[in-house]
């Protein structure tokens, strides 16, 4: 019997190596896999490259991971937040590398990794400093730049429902980056608010099928709070 549901955080996090590329779901506090990020802090992997929309708030979660010196590079679209002190301190001190990526390019690069597309052309960023050093090409009378897939060694995902095959649903705007992180990552780890019996989620309503999921941990934390 396939059972992707694991019982402990240690089991969820097992096998994450130093130097991994870690993709994070979530947008603001909504759909953010906070428990898994705490688990990663506990687990100990270092020299990580972390891709997420933001670069952490306050001194918890991703900010804490950075503060502990475990993140070598951040790939994100928006490093500002209500309290970006950890990131900004490290960045000004030259202790963390930053790759700024337009939000849509970030999402599309992850989706590309999941779909077997190693590189694609896009108009976003043409004529701006995002295009510096990138291949340009005119196609059908418009100029585009080439962007590359962003594959995760590990993906951390927050879901609303999950079953033992790893099928997932998301709640409202909690969907955001989570499905693309799941498909882009070699090892996709999920924290789910609700565990459902197999078949309980309607086959037409499954958003991320289990083929993109490796392990599921039940984390019924309730509602997101604070950004």
């Amino acid at each position: 019997m396939i059972n992707k549901i694991v019982q402990t955080m240690a089991e969820t996090m097992s096998g994450i190596k130093d130097d991994s590329v870690v993709l994070l779901g979530g947008f603001g506090a909504v759909g953010q896999p906070n428990a898994l990020i705490e688990g990663l802090i506990e687990q100990g992997a270092k020299d990580l490259t972390v891709a997420a929309n933001n670069a952490g708030v306050g001194h918890v979660g991703l900010a804490r991971l950075m503060e502990l010196g475990r993140v070598r590079k951040i790939i994100c679209s928006f490093p500002r937040s209500s309290d970006p002190v950890v990131f900004e301190t490290l960045y000004r001190a030259g202790k963390i590398e930053l790759e700024i990526v337009p939000q849509g390019t970030l999402a599309e690069r992850m989706r590309a990794a999941g779909a077997g597309v190693p590189a694609f052309f896009t108009a976003t960023g043409v004529g701006t400093k995002m295009a510096l050093g990138k291949e340009h090409r005119d196609i059908g009378g418009r100029t585009y730049i080439l962007e590359h897939a962003l594959k995760g060694d590990v993906g951390l995902v927050e879901a609303w429902e999950a079953d033992r095959w790893g099928n997932l649903t998301f709640k409202q705007a909690g969907r955001n980056f989570n499905p693309v992180v799941a498909m882009a990552s070699d090892l996709t780890l999920v924290q789910a608010q609700h565990i459902r019996a197999l078949g309980e989620i309607d086959p037409d309503h499954i958003v991320t099928p289990g083929i993109f999921v490796n392990r599921v941990l039940h984390v019924p934390y309730g509602d997101p709070a604070g950004f």
């Binding site: 900004e88 700024i100 939000q103 992850m110 409202q172 909690g174 955001n176």
Partner: protein, 220 residues
């Protein structure tokens, strides 16, 4: 500035938003940027169906909820609580940006630091040495939407013109802006450059030009 400007009455932010809202027809799919552009939604009456999109996978966004009706899972790209209109839907980030980048939005309204009379927009970083520049979805929106309108103050706080001949701040997108709503005027960006559609009451064209770096034209 000349004495004639003493009596003029700049548009308020609400008036700017109202002015832009009046130009949005029913049925358009519209993304409103963070800040003043968000106000535009307040001036589109609910019975004129305009479908607002938010980058984080919300299509058919409605107004802010009453305090006791907040849905903690329903935020917009500015991370404010919003509502979903009847008929709205959710999608993931790649699908949401496919709507933007695939040219499916009729309109995006953004704030800006500078707009040049060739349509260039700079709205994400004020210098090339910004300590941690944050672009978010601005480049996708400016490049991908069918039309880009800008809602902003006509000049910076120190009086420096924001409507320029060439953006000095890092570009968000070249040649993208179609129309600008400021506290002093509404201006189209055309092949000829800036064309003034209307001016704040009491302000002369000469006075508007004095606050604008690039040459202003009249329609026709």
């Amino acid at each position: 500035m000349s004495a004639t400007t003493a009596a003029f009455k700049p548009f308020t932010r609400q008036q700017m938003a109202q002015r832009a809202a009046a130009d949005i027809p029913e049925g358009w799919y519209v993304n409103l940027g963070i800040g003043i552009p968000t106000l535009v939604a307040d001036y589109v009456p609910m019975d004129r169906e305009v479908i607002f999109h938010s980058e984080n996978g919300v299509l058919g966004m409605g107004p802010a909820p009453e305090k006791d009706k907040i849905e903690p899972w329903l935020i917009n790209a500015g991370k404010q609580y919003v509502t979903l209109r009847t008929g709205g839907s959710y999608c993931h980030h790649a699908d949401s940006f496919a709507m933007i980048r695939g040219g499916h939005l009729d309109l995006c309204v953004l704030g800006a630091f500078q707009v040049a009379d060739n349509g260039d927009i700079a709205n994400w970083a004020t210098s090339d040495n910004d300590s941690a520049p944050a672009v978010g979805g601005a480049m996708d929106l400016a490049t991908g939407a069918r039309r880009l309108w800008v809602l902003m103050e006509h000049t910076a706080k120190d009086g420096t013109p924001k409507l320029v001949t060439r953006c000095t701040y890092p570009l968000t997108a070249p040649g993208a802006v179609k129309r600008i709503y400021t506290n002093l005027a509404t201006i189209d960006v055309t092949e000829r450059g800036f064309v003034v559609l209307d001016i704040a009451p009491g302000l002369s064209l000469a006075d508007l030009q004095a606050r604008t770096e690039a040459k202003l034209h009249l329609p026709g």
